[in-house]
Symmetry: C2
Subunit: 148 residues, 2 copies
């Protein structure tokens, strides 16, 4: 039997605790990022928390997957902005992100592209590496309009 | 019947596409962060990708949870550094993060704190909001030594 193993993609980072509830995140060639425990768990305001970054990673991955498929399928759009909101609460005695709602606002160049953009967006969400890797329910609420 | 709903914690962010495969991530009071699709999927090197941020969020959350419990249990330590490596590959026809390995190096102040630190660390991983919210297998490989 021949076992064909899929290609693997590896993502690495280094984290160093600095003081109080703060640390510095690093990854080769990327600008270092200050991170911290959020205020509601005894941490600090104004600093990216792991909770923020999990929710953001879903938001960004849906966009980057959309950019990939939009290019492949020659979809024209002039703007993509997306608000994300993650809700953490106790479920079965564990604190987890129960839902992550993603609200992309996309401007397309013609009426006939509205449906096409929604199709590409929904396909992108289903094929997003990050949203496929998390347990939270992803709620996608797009608003797609013609750039007037 | 009285239904007691657990407290909810909400995390919000705003993402704007800028050009090519790049965008800007924002969240109230936090420094804006440039993000992008990674090079292996047609994106850009040297910029934080959603894949990076997912893996980082697990690494950071285990540290911030450890900081929380270490303080509560009065565990003394002088250093916490942690390397993380996420592996993305096709599993059941979908590209997902199959494993995320976290390698914390912790320096404690006395021999008797080595076991205690490992206990606090393992408890922190099991109670980490982010690792509880993802499907990937989390592999924790600590190295705990006395600061000499």
């Amino acid at each position: 039997m021949v076992v064909v193993k899929s290609k693997q993609f590896i993502y690495k980072n280094e984290l160093s605790w600095k003081s109080e509830k703060k640390g510095l995140l690093a990854s080769k060639d990327k600008p270092p990022l200050e991170v911290a425990c959020p205020p509601e768990f005894g941490g600090h305001p104004g600093i990216w928390s792991p909770e923020d970054l999990l929710v953001a990673s879903v938001n960004i991955c849906i966009m980057t997957t959309f950019l990939y498929y939009a290019k492949n399928w020659e979809l024209k759009f002039s703007s993509y902005q997306s608000y994300a909101e993650g809700v953490a609460e106790i479920v079965e005695k564990k604190l987890v992100f129960s839902t992550i709602e993603i609200r992309p606002k996309i401007l397309v160049t013609s009426d006939r592209d509205i449906k096409e953009a929604e199709k590409v967006l929904r396909f992108s969400e289903r094929n997003c590496l990050v949203s496929n890797s998390i347990k939270s329910k992803i709620i996608l609420k797009p608003e797609i309009r013609v750039n007037s």
